[in-house]
């Protein structure tokens, strides 16, 4: 016999998931607490850094230029990713049909895209974002 499931029934897997999600980490932590022997000494509690004794504060300041480079890198890196979907649709029949300025629209759009990217690069260079001081 099948009947319309109650609204609540939709949530049963979710609730199960939530409960399990809560139980598992707590259980793991508790298991460690219970099972492992606790014998701390000074050496065990010290910070580990490649076998050497750590010196000075662990928090150091990076040169702000590093972020600038990182941002520019990430931007261009991510934008290169756009080439993949482009390749995917480039060969499609629709793209071949539509022509702009005598060229395939996919080619035209990619040209526009690269031109804008180049403008961005020009901007970054001109603003001296890529010069390490």
């Amino acid at each position: 016999m099948t009947s319309e499931p109650l609204a609540v029934e939709y949530y049963v897997p979710l609730i199960m998931f939530l409960i399990m999600g809560a139980i598992v980490p707590i259980a793991a932590l508790a298991a460690v607490k219970i099972i492992s022997p606790l014998k701390p000494n000074r050496r065990k509690l010290s910070m580990y850094e490649g076998g050497l004794v750590p010196i000075r504060d662990a928090r150091i300041q990076f040169n702000v230029q590093y972020y600038l480079f990182a941002i520019v890198f990430v931007i261009f890196d991510v934008e290169v990713l756009f080439l993949y979907p482009w390749v995917y649709i480039y060969a499609s029949e629709v793209m071949q049909r539509v022509m702009v300025f005598g060229m395939n629209i996919a080619v035209f759009e990619m040209l526009m895209f690269v031109a804008v990217l180049l403008l961005g690069l020009l901007y970054a260079i001109k603003k001296e974002a890529l010069r390490w001081v």
Binding site: A7, Y10, V98, L119, L122, Y123, K126
Partner: protein, 490 residues
Amino acid sequence: MDLGYYAPLGAEALLTGVALLVVLLGLFVKNKNLGGYLSLIGLGIAMWMVASAKLGTTFFFDTMYVDGFSQFFKAVFLAVSILVVIASLSRYKNHPGQDEYYALLLFATVGMMVVASAIDLITLFVGFELASLSTYALAAFDKEKKNLEAAMKYFIFGAASSALLLFGFSLLYGMTGSTRIADIAAISMADFGPATLVALIFVIAGFAFKMALVPFHMWAPDTYEGSPTLVSALLAAGSKKMGFAAAFRIILVALMALRLEWYVAFAILAAVTMTLGNVVAVWQTNVRRMLAYSSVAQAGYIAIAFVVIGAVSGSTNPDATYISQLGLAGGLLQILGHALMKTGAFIAAGVVGYMVLREGKENPDDIENYAGLGQRAPITAFCMLIFLFALAGIPPTAGFVGKFVLFNAAYDAGLLWLVLLAILNSALSLYYYLRVIKYMYVYKPAGGRISEPKGYVLALLLATIAVVGIGVHPEPFIGWAMQAAAALLP
């Protein structure tokens, strides 16, 4: 296929080009206001293109659509940007980063315009993010401590909301197998159980962040108060309306099948938003914060449009189509009016801020600084007076027309409780608007007369003329809004 086919989207293309050109020229030419004037010309031409565009065509493989509805919003966005740029010509004269400022402003405008035209979830999201990212950067433009805090809060809040929105979209895609609004609308949602509700609420929450509906409004007061004043104007008047543009399209068209669900959601949101916005605004002594809460409250009024449409569509009422169109038209008129008067009010606050900073005092937006403004800066004070009256919905101003049509539609839809609540709220709002007016005209001036910056004054006067013009001669605007509404809800 020739390029002429794409002419209706010429405004977007033009503005993108102008934005790039402004940045590029800024690299080589050192002219104190070149970028601003270029942007202004570009926006002006774009306005003309929007007004004269051929309606009813789809573009880019059914992802963008130019109709009366999209053009209405584009005109609103362009009007706001024009006003902001005019005022910026005074504010950011000789400012070292002005090219980036204008370019970002134009990109934000383009993003909003793309959203207005988008009929595909991905295109819509791209436009949404373009506008958001540009405004995140703009919000920190003055690089003062307060700016940075405002921009940071805006950014984090915006990122969280975008995540929700995207999650909602992905659920919709998962259920319907398409990102096109028309396809989504064609599929009955009944088979998907509670997931539809979750998707709907995520989408609403994502948009409600932009619309600043309670409780998704938390960023708004901090950001409107902390950002550069002109950017606040853009956020409150432009970017917020983008949220409505997107929500109208997605919720009223794509998710019409979930009418019952969103009807309740917006009834709650509208009622809570306008009440909370007004009640909290009463407490504010910072004028920009007060304007921010008033903006929240206005969003509540506009959200009534959703409730009206939810209440009548599918009902047996013979006038159902007309009432839903009237409701949407009321919302659109309120959007148009609010965009103009809120831009104006923020620009007026900008004049005061400018004046206070010149005197070397702190807290530029404190209401104490408005004392005797009627004598110190008569034009600004007078325009502010008009905007405040318009915000309170006093005839003959644009604010009255929007509220009148909207409440009328709500009444016709049988939402008497909501109309009463909205009218009570309007009455309450008079309290804090009148307080500013009292400061401006009753209290003794704190200093001598000041020279009002030309750009600000021009923008203020334009906005005042528009606000009063719509109020005095509302017929063509009502007709325009009805046409836009009919384009969305045939």
